[in-house]
């Protein structure tokens, strides 16, 4: 497997989109995410996600594909980019 992936979810308490970071925390900023490149590591993250769901920390847990560009983590799918960056509209013109 050569795809890069991160683990993402929504926090139970407030529903805010979060990403699993290198320190083992659920972080509101994708930039600190643990990026995995192998099948084994992806499975490890998936297990972490399942445990966090079972522990009622998060819900809607998924691995999503990303690319790393000049040190920045960028989800491949537009949907996930919007999740990471917030609504694309300038609020209330």
């Amino acid at each position: 497997m050569s795809t890069s992936q991160v683990l993402t979810a929504n926090r139970l308490t407030d529903g805010i989109a979060v990403w699993y970071d290198k320190a083992g925390n659920w972080n509101e900023w994708i930039g600190r995410s643990e990026v995995v490149h192998t099948k084994d590591d992806a499975e490890r993250l998936e297990a972490i996600g399942k445990k966090a769901y079972a522990n009622n920390e998060v819900l809607d847990v998924n691995l999503v594909e990303v690319e790393e560009i000049e040190g920045q983590i960028r989800p491949r799918r537009l949907r996930e980019r919007i999740r990471a960056e917030g609504p694309t509209i300038e609020y209330m013109i």
Partner: protein, 557 residues
């Protein structure tokens, strides 16, 4: 409007207490998500792209200033200072915390509001004509019947686990302004030659991935049979509606697969069992509910006529706003005002807490404390004296609430789309904003005339694109957004589903494509009085296909 009695107050308060307990147990880990999810949905709490979303019911789109102030308070205290009014006359908040939702529901209950059954496989908010009780062309006010249906359907033990969501709309004017033919049940309230009230009943309308126009299965159902007949429909649907496939579970599929005659016969058989049961509506009960919807005491305000004429003469912008956004009222000294939530380049249907507070204040001052939300995502003041239109306009203008675009090309309906919604494939708000900016000139809008653009960010069609004169459906193709154009849809008495014109357009090409469609219409219309929809129905899709895709390409598209 309807006022809660002691039973209603107890009911909503009990519901809040029940949900508070459920949320506490969920947060403590004593209730798993699989068990909690249907419970939170039945209280209007969704999980979206960025956060939870709370959908609050505004029964048949009617509320007063106190309630609007509470909606502003919720936006301010629990959210990010704004709310989104929807195509089902509800309001949505995009950022509530789960832990706060019981307090939000308690605040709502204090002003006789709730979020019950705004989601889930149950009967949803019953919607109605936003001009109900005021329109000059109305046979009768549909809202008492919407209220009867609301009470009947709330926590109905038999209909709490339907195959899928269920949507009912009621209209009482000759011209349907509630889109009843694209609802699961559509009710057209009418008067017969004897002056009696009854309903034409439509079943099996809907949008989404399989748009269908409702079939009329009953002509002039007497009003006393409203609940027994509706119960009969629901029982047949509950029994035979598909539960094996979420995408084939709506009643429209049942009508299509069974055949309307056969299904209507089943409904009639069930109705015959019910028609003399406790579901028969006594006239006294109908009158009791109707009394809540008595019109305000509209005093003669004849000075409005002369004032209006001179104000319009002095201010062309005001004149344009009156001509476009004020419709005839039953009382000649009054008008029905549309407060547009579609400022040029703005987010369709959104309002800030400050705007909501202002609307509340103005409703008390000029509109007999009565506010409506239309399914076209605008605010309505149904009763405003012509003599008060000018001061009302002056108060709305600085708050960006006086855009004179009702039913014009910039009065766009748009769902939240991929900027907010977990189901979406593409964004709808930026598309709406760009189209609005391109066509924002008042002169251009006046030249084009009535043209309803509706935009959905996915096949679920919450933006009602199937019934847009121009519809836009956002899809995801090879990882990028693409927008399919449909033409000729309409939700009026001659309801039609829009025709897919051809291959989709990239986001940066959509506005140009819309401009091509508009220019084509302007070039072929018989006169400025022929609307876009009339012209399209006369000439069909070919001229537009050719303009968009070229001659040979149009054949291939």
């Amino acid at each position: 409007m309807y006022r809660y009695d002691e039973f209603d107050h107890t009911f909503v308060n009990d519901r809040v207490a029940q949900f508070r307990d459920q949320v506490e147990r969920r947060l403590a880990g004593d209730l798993a998500e699989d068990a909690f999810r249907p419970l939170r949905l039945m209280n209007g709490v969704y999980l979206q792209l960025h956060a939870y979303m709370l959908r609050v019911a505004i029964p048949y789109g009617t509320l007063n200033a106190t309630q609007m102030r509470m909606l502003a308070h919720i936006a301010r205290k629990y959210d990010r200072g704004y709310g989104h009014f929807t195509t089902r006359q509800n309001i949505q908040y995009n950022w509530p915390k789960l832990a706060d939702t019981p307090d939000i529901l308690a605040d709502l209950a204090s002003v006789e509001m709730h979020a019950i059954q705004t989601s889930g496989n149950c009967i949803r908010n019953v919607t109605a004509d936003h001009f109900a009780g005021a329109a000059a062309d109305e046979a009768a006010d549909p809202r008492p019947y919407a209220e009867i249906l609301r009470q009947w359907s709330s926590v109905h033990p038999e209909f709490t686990f339907l195959p899928r969501k269920f949507k009912i709309a009621v209209t009482g004017a000759k011209d349907d302004r509630a889109a009843i033919q694209v609802h699961d049940i559509g009710l057209h309230l009418k008067k017969n030659d004897k002056g009696e009230l009854g309903f034409d009943v439509y079943v099996g309308g809907g949008q989404g991935r399989t748009p269908m126009i409702g079939k009329k299965i009953r002509e002039f159902l007497p009003e006393e049979d409203l609940l027994s007949y509706t119960t009969a429909i629901m029982r047949v649907y509950n029994l035979y509606g598909r539960r094996d496939n979420k995408y084939k579970a709506r009643i429209k599929i049942l009508v299509h697969e069974t055949g309307v005659e056969k299904l209507a016969a089943e409904i009639e058989a069930e109705f015959n069992e019910l028609k003399n049961s406790e579901l028969k509506l006594p006239d006294a009960d109908i009158q009791a509910i109707t009394s809540y919807f008595a019109p305000p005491d509209l005093l003669p305000r004849a000075e409005g006529w002369a004032n209006l004429a001179s104000w319009k003469k002095a201010d062309p912008d005001f004149a344009r706003w009156v001509d476009q956004n004020v419709k005839p009222h039953k009382h000649p000294d009054y008008g029905m005002v549309t407060i547009s939530l579609k400022p040029i380049g703005g987010i369709p249907g959104d309002a800030t807490d400050e705007q909501m507070e202002l609307v509340a204040d103005l409703a008390e001052e000029y509109a007999f404390d009565e506010i409506r939300i239309s399914h076209e995502q605008n605010i309505i003041f149904p009763h405003v004296a012509l003599a008060d239109l000018e001061p009302l306009y002056r108060a709305l203008k600085p708050a960006n609430l006086a855009t004179a675009n009702s039913n014009l090309i910039t009065d766009i309906i748009a769902c939240p789309g991929l900027d907010y919604c977990a189901l979406a494939n593409a964004r709808s708000i930026p598309v709406a904003q760009e189209i609005s900016e391109r066509f924002g000139s008042p002169e251009r809008q006046a030249e084009i005339g009535e043209l309803k653009i509706k935009i959905s960010g996915c096949i679920n069609a919450c933006g009602h694109h199937h019934v847009g004169h121009i519809g836009l459906l956002g899809v995801e193709k090879k990882g990028a957004e693409l927008y399919q154009i449909t033409l000729g849809g309409s939700a009026d008495n001659e309801t039609s589903i829009g025709d897919i014109i051809g291959r989709g357009f990239e986001p940066e090409k959509v506005t140009d494509a819309i401009e091509t469609v508009v220019d084509t219409y302007l070039g072929l219309r018989l006169s400025p009085q022929e609307t876009f929809l009339e012209a399209y129905r006369r000439v069909g899709q070919q001229p537009f296909k050719t303009a968009l895709y070229g001659g040979a390409a149009a054949e291939a598209a």
